[in-house]
């Protein structure tokens, strides 16, 4: 096995057209199979709608119109995609090490809460730049420590990271509620328990010419940076080895525990940044609106992108668009808002099942190599 990859690597450099075709064949597998999975999910969902007496054509055209049809819907989509990019990174980075973290929502909530609570004493005297910097750092640290703790528990105590991260989501929510309904509650807002606002003059504006805040751009840059870290650095390489075979990595003397904790801290920091932007660009304060399910949709985004940071951006936009069209679908077709959840769940299952088809089709293999 190792021999063939080595020789093909050498041959690829010589760059003859045959090798290019082989390469295309191999890589097209990673494009065709997810695409087929999308089509199959679409068909299954159509069947689901048909049994309820609803028109799938109308549904998909409404999704298109509500998510991608007009510049307004595009902006709505992109605003929803921004936090998904960050929360998907929270799943994708530990996934390289074979860790399944599903509690990104908790890091998002705590990140947003930390950002708001550091900003409130600064309202009035600090310049917006300084305040935003402090908020960003607070959110990153809070999120990073939160998920980093999950990684540490996994390595040093053998606690399953999936369950631990989810339990810590519930704990994060209770921390938020404790302060927001108690010590940090804004007494002037009787309706919804919230912290005091950070002040509209301190909030992050939109990218000029749009209603989309800067979070999306930061998310895209972060995706590129983390792609490079995971694919072009020794840290990323070591993480990949540990994810492939933990015992082999340990036997080679890789600091597996450190890798796990660092990867989880990066992951948590990403989710914390999502919370920062939700507070600094959308809500202007911390309250229960932070618990909007972005962390959980992010899991789906990361799995759809096969944990590749570069693919996360288009997938996040795709799912953001589906979520953005939810309101329109609800009004026009008289379907409950959970319709989007059903579609997401179905998509998730089909994508996971499609894993089983990799390497099974001869068409993706160069001639003479068995599938």
């Amino acid at each position: 096995m190792a021999d063939t990859t080595e020789t093909s690597g050498v041959r690829m450099q010589s760059g003859t057209s045959f090798e290019l075709v082989d390469r295309l064949r191999r890589s097209s597998e990673f494009f065709v199979i997810p695409l087929l999975a999308l089509v199959v999910s679409g068909l299954l969902f159509s069947a689901f709608l048909l049994t309820l007496g609803k028109s799938p054509l109308e549904f998909f055209s409404l999704v298109w119109r509500g998510g991608f049809g007009t510049s307004f819907s595009w902006q709505n989509t992109l605003v929803r995609a921004a936090p998904l990019v960050f929360t998907a990174l929270c799943v994708a980075i530990p996934a390289r090490l074979g860790l399944v973290i599903i509690g990104g929502e908790g890091a998002l909530v705590l990140g947003g809460f930390a950002a708001a609570s550091i900003a409130i004493p600064m309202v009035g005297w600090a310049p917006a730049f300084l305040m935003l910097l402090a908020m960003f750092l607070a959110a990153t640290i809070a999120g990073g420590v939160w998920i980093g703790l999950v990684g540490a528990l996994r390595h040093y105590r053998g606690v399953n990271e999936t369950i631990a991260s989810l339990l810590m989501f519930y704990i994060a929510v209770s921390i938020l509620n404790f302060f927001v309904e108690g010590a940090l509650r804004d007494p002037s807002d009787p309706n919804k328990p919230s912290t005091k606002p950070i002040g509209s003059e301190n909030m992050i504006g939109a990218i000029p010419g749009t209603d989309v805040h800067w979070g999306l751009l930061v998310g895209i840059l972060l995706c590129i940076a983390l792609f490079l870290v995971m694919n072009r650095t020794t840290f990323g390489f070591a993480a990949q080895i540990a994810g492939g075979n933990l015992r082999a990595a340990q036997a080679h003397g890789l600091p597996v525990g450190k890798l796990m904790v660092v990867a989880c801290m990066i992951a948590g920091a990403c989710a914390g940044i999502a919370g920062f932007f939700e507070v600094a660009a959308i809500h202007g304060k911390a309250n229960a609106s932070l618990i909007a399910g972005y962390g959980f949709t992010g899991i789906l985004v990361s799995f759809l992108a096969r944990h590749n940071p570069l693919v996360i951006v288009p997938v996040a936009i795709f799912l953001g668009g589906i979520a953005a069209s939810g309101g329109l679908v609800q009004r026009r077709m008289d379907l409950p808002d959970a319709t989007v959840l059903v579609l997401q769940g179905l998509l998730f299952i089909i994508i996971l099942v499609s894993e089983t088809f990799y390497g099974r089709f001869q068409i993706f293999r160069p001639k003479g190599e068995a599938a």
């Binding site: 528990l153 105590r157 339990l167 959970a338 959840l341 769940g345 299952i349 996971l352 099942v353 894993e355």
Partner: protein
């Protein structure tokens, strides 16, 4: 100390709460335990629980029979179990990830079909009074026990006996400990796991119907507070022993009842932290009871989370 009325009220409320709140934990954890005994983990039981709650409530509303609702909730649960069991036998399909996706799917379906049942009120399950001997209203109220709790207790005892003493118990345990050994015995590993996951889903569905048909006793989208997932931790804490699952469920129920019980005597400070008590307890239990160096005592050998 004991004649302090506040403490007495708290203890009584916790006792009553433990019995009420523990029933869904008991059913879901027994289901999860059975699935894990066969060598797979089903994280999707949270979705199964929510769907069971919705379907049980809907059936009870339409037919007027809550018990039929419980049955249908169980059947829906085993359908989800069948889906999990079938998909996980495909090569390179990860049982943890499928569980997460089924959690999302089950919750989505439950919210989708459940929209129509948020308003109407369905007949609820009856309770049996064991407190007639006492003239203390608190004790009387605490001893209003739902038959499902007793059924769960019986189920725990039965599973404990059956896993130890029957042929089927041996087959399930062998499959969970070593698939090659089970194969050598001529056991169809995938079939055993499929059936165990289906039975586990059945129990989880019943646990869900308890939520909507007895306590809290109506269908809302925020009905489950993660009981389906906490059950996974609970099973680890109970070391895959059905009888220990029963005691662990009672403990979790008591932890869950702590917040409301303290609030009832006027201690509302830190209310949210008391509400988080079950999660903190679960996390602490997992930290204390697991170890990175050796596999857990009593853990099925094929189980992915303990490897």
């Amino acid at each position: 100390m004991t004649d302090d009325p506040g403490l007495m009220t708290v203890l009584l409320a916790m006792f009553a709460g433990a019995i009420r709140v523990s029933t869904p934990f008991l059913f879901v954890s027994l289901g999860e335990m059975l699935t894990e005994k066969s060598g797979r983990i089903n994280l999707g039981l949270e979705g199964t629980l929510v769907f069971g709650a919705m379907s049980g409530y809907a059936i009870s509303y339409h037919t007027g029979s809550p018990w039929l609702g419980v049955l249908v909730a169980g059947i829906c649960g085993s359908a989800f179990g069948a889906l999990h069991g079938y998909l996980c036998k495909l090569p390179r399909v990860n049982d943890i990830a499928i569980g997460i996706s089924l959690m999302l799917f089950g919750t989505g379906l439950a919210f989708f079909f459940g929209k129509a049942y948020i308003q109407p009120s369905a007949p609820r399950l009856p309770a049996i009074s064991f407190g007639a001997w006492s003239d203390h209203p608190g004790i009387r109220q605490a001893l209003e026990i739902n038959p499902l709790f007793l059924l769960g207790l019986a189920l725990a005892v039965f599973l404990w006996w059956a896993l130890k003493n029957t042929r089927y118990g041996l087959i399930i345990r062998t499959t969970g400990d070593s698939a090659p050994a089970a194969l050598a015995l001529g056991v169809n590993v995938n079939k055993v796991r499929l059936l165990s996951t289906m039975a586990g889903g059945f129990f989880a569905g019943i646990g869900g119907s308890f939520l909507s048909l007895y306590y809290p006793g109506s269908w809302t989208e925020g009905l489950s507070s993660g009981q389906g997932l906490m059950a996974v931790a609970l099973v680890i804490f109970a070391r895959w022993n059905p009888l220990a699952c029963f005691w662990a469920a009672l403990l979790f129920g008591a932890a869950g009842a702590l917040g409301p019980a303290l609030q009832s005597i006027g201690i509302s400070r830190g209310y949210h932290f008391f509400n988080a008590a079950p999660y903190i307890l679960t996390l602490l239990i997992m930290i204390v009871s697991t170890s990175p160096r050796r596999s857990l005592k009593g853990a099925p050998g094929e189980l992915s989370i303990t490897k």
